[in-house]
């Protein structure tokens, strides 16, 4: 039965967008999908519009940075949810650090607005088509993207906490 559910999502998406995709169910019962960046908007729109699936609730959107994956350093993770079917779907899309550009999905979900701004703020991922892509949590003057791995957690300007005090 479980496989059928994943297959059902695949079938609906194929019919709606005409693109191939594969949905798997992970060990924790979550449906997962990996997409190329250029298919995100069409797929999410199809998921949103399909009355049968009813994935009309964007639970979460966040970024991820893994410098070890060459060419796929940056990732955006979307969690969408179908309240009628009580299912959740995780969609991942990767981009390289050189061209961190994703389509904005604010046109589908109003809630994506701040989530995308937060992701931009933390990772420097540019969401094309976002109405107001500014920093949200950090100061506007900041130039770095603090959640990237190379950025230090601690304030680099501190002078009262020298490394030798911590055996570093």
């Amino acid at each position: 039965m479980e496989d059928n559910k994943a297959g059902h999502i695949e079938r609906v998406l194929r019919n709606a967008t005409g693109l191939e995709c594969s949905v798997i169910q992970d060990a924790y019962g979550m449906f997962c999908m990996e997409l190329p960046v250029n298919q995100i908007y069409a797929t999410l729109l199809a998921l949103y519009r399909d009355p049968e699936l009813g994935f009309n609730f964007l639970t979460d959107l966040c970024g991820m940075h893994d410098p070890d994956k060459r060419g796929k350093e940056l990732c955006v993770v979307y969690h969408v949810q179908s309240m009628t079917r009580r299912e959740r779907l995780r969609i991942k899309a990767f981009a390289s650090e050189d061209q961190p550009e994703f389509p904005s999905i604010t046109g589908i979900y109003a809630t994506a607005n701040w989530m995308e701004r937060e992701t931009y703020d933390f990772y420097g991922i540019r969401f094309l088509g976002h109405p107001d892509l500014r920093r949200i949590l950090n100061m506007d003057e900041m130039v770095d993207f603090p959640m990237r791995r190379e950025f230090p957690l601690e304030d680099p300007l501190r002078e009262d906490k020298a490394d030798y005090q911590f055996g570093r």
């Binding site: 639970t59 979460d60 893994d66 309240m83 995780r90 979900y109 109003a110 701040w114 920093r135 950025f151």
Partner: protein
Amino acid sequence: MSAMKTNQEFLAELPRLARPEIPYTTLNLGPTHPATHGIFQNVLQMDGERIVHAEQTIGYIHRAFEKIAERRPFYQITPLTDRLNYCSAPINNMGWHLTVEKLLGIKTPKRVDYMRVMVMELARVADHIICNSILGVDTGALTGFTYVYQWREFIYEIYEEICGARLTTNMGRIGGFERDFNDIVFEKTRRFLREFPPVWQEFEDLLLRNRIFMDRTMETGAITAERALNYGMTGPNLRACGLDYDLRVHEPYCSYEDFDFQIPIGTTGDTYDRFVVRNEEIRQSLSIIQQALQRIESMEKVFHAEEEHYYLPPKQEVYRNMEALIYHFKIIMGEIDPPVGEVYHAVEGANGELGFYLVSDGGRTPFRLHFRRPCFIYYQAFPEMVRGQLLSDAIVVMSSLNVIAGELDA
């Protein structure tokens, strides 16, 4: 109330009102305004006393939780979750423990689940007490706040008996609780269940059919269910719009399916409905606490899962017992590798769906931890909710949304 225009009527007249020769007034509300109950800024464009547009600036207490979490072992992240929504810290703690247990595949005994349900519901009551009584303060009823706040203090006393802390509780461990509830916990909880409902009834009587309160809250900050869903609202704010989405029922976690309770919903999604929904949720929570209490007391006294690899051994054992010492060392030093995987787990926080997206690469710290903070997500809807309303309504709407700065900014 009838003389006042509704939001839609006002919007229809907006072009006429916005005469070009009279510019809009820009009003800065916050970041340190007593009525915002937290540190966030609203820049309002006002046409007379009507709000034409609101723009929020947040991030004034951004503390980089997610960055810290990438540097901390799992058990050290519990204190961070305390400081997300500090009005109901135990829910955050339990949510985090449940997430890690889901990743590790730990199955907790029923009694642990019920103990968790009990503290989570106590926390929900505590959170709703503060939200609703502050709504009273913002509409001019300070006395109700000081009256019911004593019972929040009483909940703190119960927390203290359980874990020793009042506000930022850091309660429980991965796999259960650090110790069993003592008799004082049960005694105090029973006293709370006995003596709090009449007090709350008094408070509710003060406001529920109060003409002033009704005029201030009805039809202010209304939002339709469709827009609320599109804005990602969850929790009491969504339920006030008429959608019965409650994770405790929708995706039962922590044995919530064993309890008998109802989900209150509103109809219009305005401030009054949010108030009433929270009131009723307190009643339902009290009923859940009652049921949990009965079950906990009648069951065999276990308070943690038998998972020596992940559950910290008691300290006195660590000093006497070799195995306990080894496990203590291994857990504290992060020698025990969690499985590689990705987990999304959500609990019904006091404000809505509190989600934890945990990515583990098998190391001692999470590879990535993202908190789905309900406040951050639904506060976006604020400009839409207050458009066309009075400035004083904006204060009431903000208060009834229960925006907690710690959760907003993370």
